[in-house]
Symmetry: C2
Subunit: 209 residues, 2 copies
């Protein structure tokens, strides 16, 4: 995250990230200029340029910053049973963490979508988003493997199940944010719970269905 | 689509839409200017302004044009069995129509994502995308209802199943386009086929599982 060397630099960088976030929420990616970011920042534009040579360098650092916030939100409780761990993770990914984090979940989702949209044109964004995809995928795969090992889940392909969940959650968030359809997120939550209970969980016998 | 009155106007509008599409694929939404569109058009910029007063009016017409192309791609064959109809529709939505349409599927997906990203800020885009969401949802609900009625599918909530499929397909397309992950689209296709065969299709008895 740039030339961090002491506490003051880190505070300044945090303030620049906050300013970028405010500017993005206010203007959208298509209108996100260095000036718009500086307008949200309480020091001079020169301070921003000192830390980030170009707008691209700033945005790369900003994406990393957003993904860190995102990942802090999805920590799983290893003591929960695998099916409950899945459902908790789905809720967090759809509606945000139970305790409100430093970002509004909705604004965070819009910001991530905006930067995601630039990824076809930007290799560094693509690299970071791919790393994030793989981190969440690995979390889901580990939970499914655990459930299969414990005999709670059927013997499914964990990667296949993880892909189903990830694409579904991502699609729901995008409809929710772009169409302002909270009902789609709620229906998706219900659908995923049905799939976990009705497909993924091992049937004890035909009475269970 | 603007002041269409005769064949010549329609041809001109079609040419403007093509130019917008080329400019968008080349520059991305954030850099899509009227000049960039005019550069892809073989008549003068004045002709564009004659048909569309503002860039916003042009982009609203353009979104309608893209969604028309999208909808021509997803026509379903009513003679197919419900499960096959679903799987055919999934393939088309993930990989494009079997016969190559007037657009490259990949470019069409990027263009739709770019405009979708503007939807939180634009009511008209949101209205059109919502209408499109509801059209595809209705198609999926009708297929699921048909399958339940014929006793081929279990007695699931058709809206719940349709939401699961739609969010999953949308999420997969977005990963595919933004992360260049064709493998995610392929895994999603396999996952959806598993869900149709293993969850949605009615089990004849416990031996089937």
């Amino acid at each position: 995250m740039g030339p961090a060397s002491d506490g003051e630099d880190v505070d300044t960088q945090e303030a620049i990230m906050r300013a970028t976030y405010s500017a993005l929420c206010k203007h959208g990616y298509a209108n996100l200029t260095m000036q718009a970011i500086a307008d949200e920042f309480d020091k001079t534009k020169g301070v921003i340029h000192y830390h980030y040579d170009t707008k691209e360098a700033l945005l790369v650092a900003f994406l990393e910053y957003l993904l860190d916030a995102f990942n802090r939100n999805i920590a799983v409780d290893e003591d929960e049973a695998p099916d409950e761990r899945l459902l908790t993770l789905f809720e967090t990914l759809l509606f945000g963490p139970p305790e409100r984090g430093e970002f509004d979940h909705w604004e965070l989702m819009i910001a991530l979508l905006e930067i995601r949209t630039e990824a076809p044109y930007d290799e560094e964004f693509r690299r970071q988003l791919t790393h994030n995809y793989e981190t969440v995928e690995a979390t889901l795969v580990a939970i499914v493997e655990d459930g299969v090992e414990r005999g709670l889940f059927r013997d499914v392909d964990p990667e296949l199940a993880a892909t189903l969940f990830l694409t579904c959650l991502n699609g729901a968030r995008i409809y929710q944010v772009t169409l302002r359809r909270d009902d789609v997120a709620q229906l998706t939550s219900d659908a995923l719970e049905t799939i976990v209970r009705d497909w993924l969980c091992h049937p004890e016998g035909p009475e269970d269905r």
